[in-house]
């Protein structure tokens, strides 16, 4: 559904997005991850037709965005990171204005606006948007992104200002969208959030896609030559010396450690603890969380 083909965007000769090749199938919830300045927002702006690529192309549903922006925009729902509205108008008026651009009749607009305000929990709020909290604006932004019942939804930092209830609503909405076959692209810094809703992830660094795939694939790739072993003991443990150990982090009382090794050395650690007369409370191979995966890729990229 979304295809980036050697997509490049340079500002004053400096590439913000560099030769990006990416394919997101229909119905996928794709998380675009990366540190500040990685090129996430620039990629999104090219995908929604707000800026033109310097070279390469991107396609939505097989239509090239730069060549046919209007056709593409009709298929897309977009919520920018810094979501904004007309402060002197109500949520209903703001959504109705947005709906007009998609050629909806007055009856359809009324129906759609009412449904969406209910979906994001803003039905019955009659005040103008100027009096809304950031979280309410974010909810309204999500509603506006869905006003045209899009085939592709692009969300830039969608949970940045949401309260826990709002986050739950957001997850529910995204899962519903995915269930209906809508492709969702989520750009976020909140890694745990991405791992909760996204079926696959792309990691951007310095404008380049350094890894992509589903979480398991990325996890395997990130940990294929390393194992993270967590150790908790009843007494302070000694510093382990083994050539397979890549790094080791100990707690202040030395009763907990997180050891990264080239291969599983948990037997050797157990033997060392036994020889020192220290009782282990826990000795286990840890599964990498999203943050570990991401940091491991960033670490590789900066080497």
């Amino acid at each position: 559904m979304i295809l980036c083909d050697h997509l490049t965007k340079a500002y004053n000769g400096v590439p913000a997005v560099d030769d990006l090749c990416l394919e997101i199938p229909a119905g996928e919830v794709f998380g675009l991850l990366g540190p500040n300045g990685a090129g996430k927002s620039t990629t999104i702006l090219m995908l929604v037709g707000l800026i033109q690529p310097t070279s390469g192309a991107c396609y939505i549903g097989g239509i090239e965005v730069a060549a046919h922006p209007i056709e593409v925009k009709k298929k897309i729902g977009y919520m920018p990171e810094d979501v904004g509205f007309y402060a002197d108008r109500t949520a209903k008026e703001n959504l109705d204005y947005a709906a007009r651009f998609y050629g909806l009749s007055e009856r359809e607009r009324k129906q759609r606006v009412g449904d969406l305000l209910g979906l994001v929990g803003l039905d019955g709020v009659g005040t103008t948007v100027g009096g809304y909290s950031k979280g309410m604006r974010q909810r309204l932004g999500l509603a506006r992104a869905l006003i045209n019942d899009p085939a592709v939804v692009v969300l830039d930092e969608p949970t940045a200002n949401l309260d826990p209830r709002g986050v739950l609503d957001y997850r529910r909405i995204v899962k519903d969208l995915a269930g209906r076959g809508t492709t969702v692209l989520v750009s976020s810094h909140i890694l745990s959030e991405v791992s909760k809703v996204c079926t696959s992830v792309g990691i951007l660094a310095n404008g380049r896609l350094i890894a992509s795939g589903d979480r398991e694939t990325l996890s395997r790739a990130a940990t294929q030559d390393r194992v993270v072993i967590g150790v908790d003991t009843t007494a302070p443990m000694p510093r382990f010396t083994n050539p397979e150990i890549l790094s080791a982090e100990f707690s202040q009382d030395s009763c907990s450690a997180r050891i990264v090794a080239r291969k599983d050395i948990s037997d050797l650690i157990a033997e060392t603890l036994y020889s020192e007369g220290i009782l282990p409370r826990r000795l286990a191979i840890e599964k990498s969380d999203m943050e570990d995966i991401l940091l491991s890729y960033y670490a590789e990229e900066t080497v």
Binding site: L50, I51, P69, P80, G84, F85, Y86, D88, Y97, G141
Partner: protein, 353 residues
């Protein structure tokens, strides 16, 4: 460009202007000023007409064809009342134009709604074209209301304009609209190039002051003399020279050709003086014309004073009037077009990040 997107944006902008307190306030002032100008002008017109009728009766009773001939081209016109109103509208209209345009683009940037707006299925030019169209509609409505209001005042006071006067009144309305639109387009340009509304307003006011006050300074005689030099001095010593001014005319009389000692001045010197004088006056007229053309308020006042000339047999018809004012009208059309063109290009090239 799709007509739908343009119409939606223009409709919203038009509605925003009509709902804006700023517009209500300035429009209210505009109407009050129009009323005051109209009533004052009509009172003056009635007095002038009464004086004219008395003089005409005098010419008829004394059977003085020379006086009757002179009076033929001096019949007061109701347009003199519009001239009075126009002078007042010139000032507030400029402010209205700037007030309506200075935050059109910056407001979208400040409210962070520009990205969302551009993500709708519309082309980028529809945004700026729609905003300009909505503004033009609101200005046209405001000026139309003022024009209808002025005609109502005139009619209530018992004056019915003839067809020629009606055409001139329409010309007055059209150029008043163009003046406000010029400053609206200037403010729109400043809104497109500035980062925030404060800067856009400041830049608009600076350019407005340059166009309406700074540039016309060069047409004033003392400034002109200081910049381009004094007029040539008559040969010999003038026997006497004086300048008499009234509110309408400035008459300068200089007696030349005779030296103080009583000797006769060389005719060649006199001829040279006349040539230099003509050259000086031609240059001065050119500079004055250029200054007038560059200044929208200068063009407005030139058109206004020509359109409100006294009626009568010698008054030019609408066609001749428009022909004589062609340069001023073109300048008054070209300036907003240039401002809007620059705003359009700037907005189309704007980097959205």
């Amino acid at each position: 460009m799709t007509a739908t997107g343009l119409a939606i944006i223009a409709g919203k902008e038009f509605s925003d202007h009509l709902r804006s307190r700023r517009f209500h306030l300035l429009f209210g002032i505009l109407v009050v000023i129009a009323a005051v100008g109209m009533i004052t002008g009509v009172v003056q017109y009635t007095k002038d007409l009464s004086d004219y009728n008395s003089l005409q009766m005098l010419a008829e009773s004394e059977d003085d064809p020379a006086l009757a001939g002179n009076l033929a081209g001096l019949k007061p016109s109701i347009l003199s009342a519009y001239s009075q109103m126009g002078m007042l509208i010139g000032g507030i209209g400029v402010v209205l134009g700037i007030a309506m345009g200075f935050d059109l683009m910056t407001r979208e940037k400040e409210s962070k709604s520009l990205k969302s707006l551009l993500a709708y299925p519309i082309f980028r030019d529809e945004v700026i074209n729609g905003k300009a169209l909505g503004g033009v509609g609101a200005i046209a409505l405001a000026m139309g209301v003022v024009l209808v209001f002025s005609l109502a005042v005139v009619t209530i006071l018992g004056i019915v304009p003839n067809l020629g006067e009606l055409v001139r009144i329409l010309i007055f309305g059209a150029v008043s609209f163009l003046l406000v639109f010029t400053f609206f387009a200037l403010a729109l340009l400043m809104s497109a190039v500035s980062k925030d509304s404060g800067n856009a307003l400041l830049h608009s006011l600076i350019v407005m002051i340059v166009l309406t006050s700074f540039i016309p300074i060069f047409a004033y005689p003392p400034v002109y003399s200081a910049v381009f030099g004094d007029p040539p001095t008559p040969p010999g010593t003038s026997a006497y020279s004086y300048q008499q001014s009234s509110s309408i005319y400035t008459v300068t009389t200089t007696k030349v050709g005779v030296q103080a000692s009583g000797g006769v001045i060389d005719p060649e010197e006199l001829k040279e003086y006349e040539r230099a004088s003509r050259e000086y006056m031609t240059q001065r007229q050119t500079i004055t014309d250029i200054v007038t053309l560059v200044s929208p308020t200068g063009n407005y006042q030139t058109i206004l004073s020509a359109a409100s000339q006294p009626a009568g047999d010698s008054a030019p018809g609408p066609g001749n009037l428009l022909g004589a004012l062609a340069y001023n009208i073109i300048a008054l059309l070209a300036m907003p077009a240039a401002f809007f063109g620059l705003a359009w290009v700037r907005f189309m090239r704007e980097d959205i990040r």
